[in-house]
């Protein structure tokens, strides 16, 4: 022992130092990606990337409530003026100006390239006559003053045509000139940040700037209230919540567990020794995730709180159950303690290992974290801790407490049939609720509060902000192919718009037509002499003087000699920004996005039947055109992940049973260990169900962990019965006491999570904490008589 001690200590110290070094270099993230399933196909992954970082992720929806309409309009205008001047924002719009002066000039200059209406037919005598007539009609209208200057240089109305194309989005309601909700109670603005969706710090800074600008625009005391939404708000909120929760809950759980252990050990030294495996395990867990996954999610640290409660168990078993011989000072560890702890660790690892292949990064990190953490905690308990135990173990005398508990637990044995009946009832409850048992909505996992999600929906609807719930994605090997595909898909979508199937759509070719389309447009333009002749013929029956249209003839002539528009030409305009959101490439593949807009008065009542869109676009080359309903897609994905989680859990359960079968070598004993755990699972699931909670994937994982964690207690009861015949029993009360303390720590570890505001943490905690407690009670209730033999014997003697 004297030579083993420094060796074990040295190895441990070196290990801890190495782990600390790894963690010091680890990358931590607190974004939402832990909640987004990894998508199976690269195209879908890319799509979600774009949705996370594309236009929609740059938008912050702003509402101003309270006060009167004039005050709101004034604050909105002040907010816009202040924010527009800041470099953090690409644009801030309150409805005062949609197509800016610069953009209008650009559109006018390139009208013969950008207008989708330009064709040979339009520039024939008949075509010109029809267009001229339409322009003349405009002069009669109240907007005549606008139409008049255009009549000379653009009598075919191309500029208007393009403006109509760009304006296809629909304009929000207005009050006092600025955007407003339809009920007029909210002024609305739309800010576009330069920071991308994944730049949470940049988004946080942009939000802070908006709040500061609002405080300046409406200095307190004010009746005005600022509302913010959008994915930036969600990302920042989620990060803050997770950070805050992890800090708060780990502190709470540490304080509670340390308090409990102090109560039990009554010694600082013992406490520190008891926490040694926990700290080592936690370090190992974080380091393993950092090495294995590259990035440690904040949420993993949240899950890791549970490890504190669980890994402390091993040292509790050791410290409470072992004793020093009074004379020799030799350490007496109960026979088979290590075997029981080892088996418990292995069953837990089986449970957590089934999380490793999970498609949710947060879950697979939890698996890795826990496996390494528990393994190291157990190893440190086994190899290092015994070397460090002081010569005298100062400890509260736990035997009376254990004995009292034992009598209580023994009495619970009588409830065995009742517990079995309860299990049957729970199974019945679950069976009758089987239809509504599972929550199939991915949003249930989002750390963003439901109220915030509802506000987002409201503001988005009121602002007509880009909605990416239905979209078509075209892809191809280069930009030109993608643009041409977008054009042909656009023609098919136009037919759907005509039938009212969809209200409209956005497309990259609105901003940058394909080179082919541009060339065709230019080639359809007649030369000056021909055009002059056609203008003369077309105006013969019209009140227009042909010579007044000379600027038009000149403009067409110069357009004929211009080169097609390149993407770079759009850069200084807001059209370029819009294009960037709809057209991008990744490696060698190009993608174009065509978000669809529902027709509010259409046959589907403001909804889109993606099936019909799919049918309409069926003729396109497969793979090049993809129609997506994001809600359907994510729900379908989530459904498949739920199925995956069910499979993984069943595999985990099977592995645990197999492990127990190998270790215990008796089907009866395996059944005895498993039965209380299954009952605990049924009871927790039924309780959640009766409480109106729909089970998420995290509840499911929690149920698996009830088995993985609870098996530790069941194994101790099994050990008792196995030893009953042979071993001495003076340590039995101590075993029971250590079980109770260990169980309390586990319940605390998971229990604090149940109070989290982050749904994934809450769901897991709310499942495992009561489950672990029930697992202990049920194990006692169903334990064989032999487990309590001495007590019953003692009682018999009374």
């Amino acid at each position: 022992m004297s030579s083993a001690r420094p060796l074990a200590l040295g190895v441990w110290l070196a290990g801890v130092a190495a782990l600390a070094l790894i963690i010091a270099h680890a990358r931590f993230s607190a974004d939402l990606s832990a909640f987004l399933p990894r998508l199976p196909s690269p195209a879908q992954r890319l799509l979600v990337d774009q949705l996370q970082n594309g236009l929609a992720a740059h938008l912050i929806l702003i509402g101003i409530e309270g006060g009167d309409a004039a005050a709101r309009a004034q604050a909105a205008a002040a907010l816009r003026a202040q924010l527009s001047a800041q470099s953090a924002f690409a644009s801030v719009n309150d409805g005062e100006s949609s197509i800016q002066e610069r953009d209008r000039a650009f559109v006018f200059e390139h009208r013969y390239l950008l207008s989708s209406a330009v064709s040979a037919q339009r520039f024939s005598v008949e075509g010109l006559r029809a267009q001229f007539q339409a322009s003349l009609d405009l002069i009669d209208s109240a907007a005549g003053a606008l139409a008049l200057p255009l009549l000379r240089s653009d009598p075919t109305g191309e500029t208007l045509q393009i403006v109509d194309q760009l304006d296809a989005g629909g304009d929000p309601h207005r009050e006092h000139g600025v955007w407003s909700s339809a009920d007029g109670r909210r002024a609305l603005l739309l800010a576009e940040t330069r920071a991308s969706g994944s730049d949470t710090d940049g988004q946080a800074a942009a939000l802070a700037a908006i709040r500061a600008a609002f405080a300046a625009a409406a200095p307190p005391p004010t009746q005005l209230r600022l509302l913010l939404s959008g994915s930036a708000v969600f990302a920042v909120q989620a990060r803050d919540t997770i950070k805050h929760e992890v800090r708060r809950l780990s502190l709470l759980s540490s304080v509670l567990i340390v308090g409990l252990l102090l109560l039990v050990y009554r010694s600082g030294t013992m406490l520190l020794l008891g926490l040694l495996p926990v700290v080592s395990g936690a370090l190992a867990g974080v380091a393993a995730v950092a090495l294995g996954a590259g990035v440690v999610h904040g949420i993993t640290l949240g899950f890791g709180i549970t490890l504190i409660g669980e890994s402390v168990d091993y040292s509790i078993y050791l410290l409470v159950q072992s004793r020093r011989e009074p004379d020799s000072g030799a350490l007496t560890i109960p026979p088979r303690l290590w075997r029981t702890i080892g088996l418990g660790v292995l069953t837990s690892i089986c449970g957590f290992a089934s999380l490793l292949p999970s498609s949710f990064p947060g879950l697979s990190q939890l698996g890795l974290f826990s496996i390494c953490g528990l393994g190291v905690a157990a190893a440190v308990t086994r190899l290092v801790l015994p070397q460090l135990l002081p010569r005298r173990l100062h400890m509260r005398e736990l035997a009376p407490f254990g004995a009292a508990t034992m009598r209580l637990l023994a009495r619970m044995r009588g409830f065995g049939p009742a517990v079995a009946l309860l299990g049957a009832l729970c199974a019945l409850v679950l069976y009758t609720h089987r239809g509504t048992l599972w929550n199939r909505d991915l949003a249930a996992l989002s750390p963003v509060a439901a109220a915030a999600q509802a506000l987002d929906g409201e503001l988005r609807g009121e602002l007509n902000a880009p909605d990416i719930s239905n979209l078509v994605v075209v892809s191809g090997p280069d930009q030109e192919t993608v643009l041409q595909r977008a054009e042909s898909v656009g023609r098919e979508l136009d037919a759907l718009v005509g039938r009212g199937e969809i209200g409209g759509y956005e497309t990259p070719v609105r901003y940058l037509p394909s080179r082919q389309a541009q060339t065709e447009r230019l080639e359809s333009l007649p030369d000056a002499a021909t055009l002059r002749e056609r203008v003369r013929a077309a105006t013969a029956s019209l009140p227009l003087r042909p010579e007044a249209l000379e600027p038009f003839v000149q403009a067409v002539e110069s357009a004929r000699h211009s080169a097609p528009l390149e993407r770079a030409a759009l850069e200084p305009t807001s059209l370029g920004l819009a294009l960037d959101a709809l057209l991008w490439h990744h490696a060698d593949h190009w993608y174009g996005l065509l978000p669809l807009r529902a027709d509010r008065s259409g046959p589907h009542g403001g909804d889109i039947d993606i099936g019909r869109v799919r049918a309409a676009l069926a003729a396109n080359p497969p793979g090049a055109v993809l129609e997506l309903n994001m809600k359907q897609e994510t729900d379908a994905l989530y459904g498949s992940y739920l199925a995956e989680a069910v499979h993984l859990s069943l595999w985990g359960l099977a592995a645990i049973v197999l492990l127990l079968a190998v270790a215990l070598r008796s089907p009866v004993r395996v059944a005895r260990v498993i039965a209380p755990l299954v009952l605990a699972v049924l009871a927790v699931a039924a309780a959640l169900c009766l409480a109106g909670v729909q089970l998420t994937i995290l509840h499911l994982i929690g149920l698996l962990l009830i088995v993985a964690v609870g098996s530790n207690y069941a194994l101790f009861f099994d050990r008792r019965s196995g030893e009953a015949a042979s071993a001495g029993r003076q340590d039995l009360p101590l075993t029971i006491a250590s079980l109770l303390v260990a169980n309390a720590c586990t319940v605390i570890g998971f229990g604090v999570l149940a109070f989290s505001h982050v749904p994934v943490l809450r769901d897991l905690g709310a499942t495992v904490a009561p489950g672990a407690l029930l697992a202990l009670w049920f194990s006692a209730a169903l334990a064989p008589r032999a487990s309590f033999a001495p007590v019953t014997a003692a009682q018999g003697r009374h």
């Binding site: 004034q74 009609d137 002069i139 209208s141 109240a142 907007a143 200057p149 009050e175 009140p543 227009l544």
Partner: protein, 200 residues
């Protein structure tokens, strides 16, 4: 500036009109004319609703001959103005809260008046006159009123050069709270005349 006017308009307008009234009072506007103008504006402001037939003739350089159109105008105080053209082709223009919606056949276009500085003064001059919104008028134009309330003539001359480059002058003729004629003289020589016949 009458108390009625102040009660009607939003606070910002009231402040602006007060400032403008002080300025114009100090500079050139005669006190007597100012009084009549206020009376006229108050009279117009009382009118909450109106409907009238119109005939418009445009004398434009691009046209071989003047172009005529006719239809119905309707107005609801203070900022809703509709022009429904019936001949030669049915179309409508609706100005509401500063947004102009043009409808022609199935086609519908929406413009923010403020986005189009060449258009806004022309349309808003009529609306502001109907509303008796002197502040809005004086933001862009110098006002010259002649005649009496029974037969008045209001001349609008652009204050800033950019507007003057487009519009030389707008001439409104009216009887009490009714506008009977609007003549717009463009700076490039084009001209339009609208004759208004109030419906009973």
């Amino acid at each position: 500036m009458s108390p009625r006017r102040r009660r009607r308009g939003p606070a910002a307008w009231a402040c602006a009109s007060l400032a403008l009234a002080l300025l114009s009072g100090m500079s050139h506007a005669a006190a007597a004319e100012d009084g009549t103008l206020d009376e006229l504006m108050a009279l117009l402001a009382q009118r909450r609703h109106g409907e009238a037939d119109f005939q418009q003739t445009q004398y434009l350089a691009v046209l071989k001959q003047p172009q005529r159109s006719e239809g119905v105008l309707s107005y609801d105080a203070p900022d809703h103005l509709e022009q429904r053209t019936l001949k030669p082709r049915a179309q409508s223009a609706v100005l509401d809260h500063g947004v102009l919606t043009l409808t022609s056949g199935a086609r519908r276009r929406t413009l923010r008046l403020d986005d189009y500085p060449q258009l806004a003064p022309l349309i808003d001059s009529m609306r502001a006159t109907l509303a008796g919104d002197r502040a809005a008028l004086e933001r862009r134009f110098e006002l010259h009123l002649t005649g009496d309330l029974a037969h008045w003539q209001l001349d609008l001359q652009p204050r800033d050069e950019r507007l003057a480059a487009i519009v030389q002058r707008i001439h409104l003729l009216g009887e009490r709270d009714e506008i009977r004629e609007v003549e717009v003289q463009q700076s490039d020589g084009d001209r339009s005349l609208m004759i208004i016949q109030p419906r009973p």
